[in-house]
């Protein structure tokens, strides 16, 4: 981990190249994190990967945390690893819920409308019943390892990654409706009906 001072140095260097990209820094329980502007996520990740003296070339994990009831609520976490200096750095991009008013349903609305993210590569950023979904740039071009993990984040939280080569559901069935790992999606929110099998195989 970079220590608290090293973190501020990194912040200062990013600010020189990309003004306004870093919104905040955090140093908690020995783990360093940068809160960044979601619009500049590729610039910051690319800088951390390629800038001389940085070398955070390995993306360990990409995951989402839903900070509800805090707003903005979706934190996209990039756990970067510098394998030369053996340092981890967490980069967080906090996204607004795109449709906070209709967000009470949390995508659990039982309309039959499916998520429109087909295999076409550029899904419309809407979910069931025209629900707006939060968007961020995909980092697959920088870190190919993010492909499955961004699909997982889309699958569970309905985060749309712009420019992802194949943004479809990965663990849930393609015709699943809703974003089950959001905090406003209740545990046990889905009745077990096995309709998929009944419909297809009688």
């Amino acid at each position: 981990m970079p220590d608290a001072l090293g973190l501020e140095l990194i912040r200062g260097e990013i600010e020189q190249d990309h003004p306004g990209a870093v919104l905040d820094t955090g140093f908690d329980r020995g783990q360093a994190s940068l809160v960044i502007d979601p619009a500049q996520v590729l610039a910051v990740l690319g800088w951390l990967r390629d800038a001389p003296g940085q070398g955070y070339r390995f993306l360990s994990s990409l995951h989402v945390a839903d900070y509800l009831p805090a707003q903005p609520r979706f934190g996209i976490h990039y756990e970067l690893l510098n394998r030369d200096r053996v340092e981890r750095l967490r980069v967080k991009a906090i996204l607004e819920d795109a449709s906070p008013a209709g967000g009470a349903a949390g995508g659990t609305a039982p309309e039959e409308a499916l998520a429109t993210a087909g295999g076409g590569g550029s899904p419309a950023a809407t979910g069931p019943a025209g629900q707006r979904l939060p968007e961020i740039d995909s980092c697959v071009s920088l870190f190919p390892t993010a492909e499955f993990q961004e699909r997982e984040a889309y699958d569970f939280f309905g985060i749309v990654f712009r420019g992802h080569p194949d943004l479809t559901r990965i663990l849930l069935p393609d015709d699943y409706v809703g974003w089950p790992l959001r905090r406003d999606f209740p545990v046990g929110g889905e009745p077990v009906t096995f309709t998929y099998n009944e419909r297809n195989y009688g």
């Binding site: 994990s61 995951h63 945390a65």
Partner: protein
């Protein structure tokens, strides 16, 4: 990689799985074949998705442990350590030295167990059926050890936040020493069976090579990365449990083909045995769980006599402990690579988010690079050498 030079035929899309003995679980592969040659491959996963991460949000911290064990059902001690370690870092709880050593012993036994399951099933895929019986014979000895110490053969719930639940029983050490003396001999026997086996060699040598840079791009860790010559092992690089005090080597390969993957894992079994032996020799005396009554259950013997212990016990069992808001990512070296656990605490007695960075899930992305351009039979060999556990992939 096998030369694919036969005459051109039409491309056929073949579905393999999800229920197929060669996919090591419930993995579905959509494969484009031109004759016997794989031209495109897409893994389709999610058939054993059970929503464990969501279920964890509805359980108090100590009840999460049995859930996460069931993700990667072959390396359950690692899942426990990732979660318990993350929570210990959240509440800033130091575990006693004896607990660190005990955890190290069981993690390394679990690594041997996991590699034995891998070796048996993968050799079975390649036609060496007797390997399965030999590997499962040794695996059973490890399960006997687990049962003796924890009461369960699998999914033991042995690690607790703060340490481990029980000390070692009488007679365990002797039994473990027998196993430690036996295991390197057994690994030597496996090598005798496979290392100069003509069929095994021609099925694995030069097959499934992925360049080291590509593996790093794809986020691949563990034996797959080390087989390509990258000596990256979190046990060496990060400071956790008793690994800094242990003397062990990190085996690496040179070519990065399936044969190297096999060699690296076999060498890791021997190194793990050495770690177990050293940890047993250096096992410190003292408590096996931290003495912090806010997080750790009081000893059973105190309950009839101490009102305070009774209250603590009641509070911990009914409500659990509250964890101050914060988030921690804690990664350890699992048998398949970097196993990371992210825990977000919101101040209540239940975690707001538990996420596992499962190495099988990330490593599976390298499968296309390993297989495309080779024969479909080599694809099966590469899948075995990739060693995905679908319970961990799908969670």
């Amino acid at each position: 990689m096998a030369e694919a030079t036969e005459s051109r035929t039409e491309v056929m899309t073949v579905n393999i799985g999800p229920h197929h003995p060669a996919t090591h679980g419930v993995l579905r592969l959509v494969v484009d074949l031109e004759g016997e040659v794989v031209r495109e491959l897409k893994p389709v996963i999610g058939y054993v998705h059970t929503g464990i991460e969501k279920s964890c949000e509805d359980k108090s911290y100590w009840k999460v442990i049995p859930f996460v064990e069931r993700m990667d059902y072959v390396s359950y001690f690692f899942q426990m350590e990732a979660f318990c370690g993350a929570v210990e870092r959240l509440v800033e709880l130091e575990i006693p030295p004896r607990a660190r050593y005990l955890r190290t012993i069981f993690l390394e036994l679990n690594r041997i167990h996991s590699h034995l399951v891998w070796l048996g099933t993968t050799a079975l895929d390649l036609g060496a059926i007797s390997m399965l019986w030999y590997c499962f014979r040794e695996r059973d000895k490890i399960l006997d050890l687990f049962e003796m110490a924890t009461g369960q053969r699998m999914h033991t719930r042995y690690f607790q936040v703060g340490g481990v639940i029980e000390d070692l029983p009488l007679g365990f050490e002797a039994k473990l020493r027998d196993f430690v003396a036996d295991m390197p001999v057994r690994v030597g026997q496996y090598e005798d069976l496979l290392d100069r086996n003509e069929i095994f060699l021609s099925r694995t040598k030069g097959v499934g090579i992925v360049p080291r840079e590509r593996l790093l791009e794809l986020g691949v860790t563990g034996p797959l990365l080390r087989a390509a010559g990258e000596p990256w092992d979190l046990r060496k690089t990060f400071d956790y449990l008793a690994y800094p005090e242990m003397d062990f080597k990190v085996p690496v390969g040179t070519v990065g083909d399936n044969y190297d993957r096999y060699r690296v894992r076999l060498a890791e079994m021997v190194e793990s045995t050495r770690i177990v032996e050293q940890a047993l020799d250096g096992l410190p005396e003292g408590p096996f769980i931290a003495d912090d009554r806010k997080y750790v259950l009081p000893p059973r013997s105190e309950l009839p006599t101490s009102m305070e212990a009774l209250i603590h016990h009641f509070k911990l069992v009914t409500e659990g402990y509250r964890v101050a808001p914060g988030e921690v990512y804690y990664a350890i070296e699992g048998p398949r690579g970097e196993l990371g656990c992210f825990v977000l605490a919101d101040g209540s007695a239940k975690p707001a988010r538990v996420h596992y960075r499962d190495p099988s899930f990330v490593n599976l992305q390298a499968f296309r690079d390993m297989s495309v351009g080779g024969y479909v039979a080599d694809m099966i060999a590469s899948l075995g050498m990739l060693d995905p556990i679908l319970g961990g992939v799908d969670r």
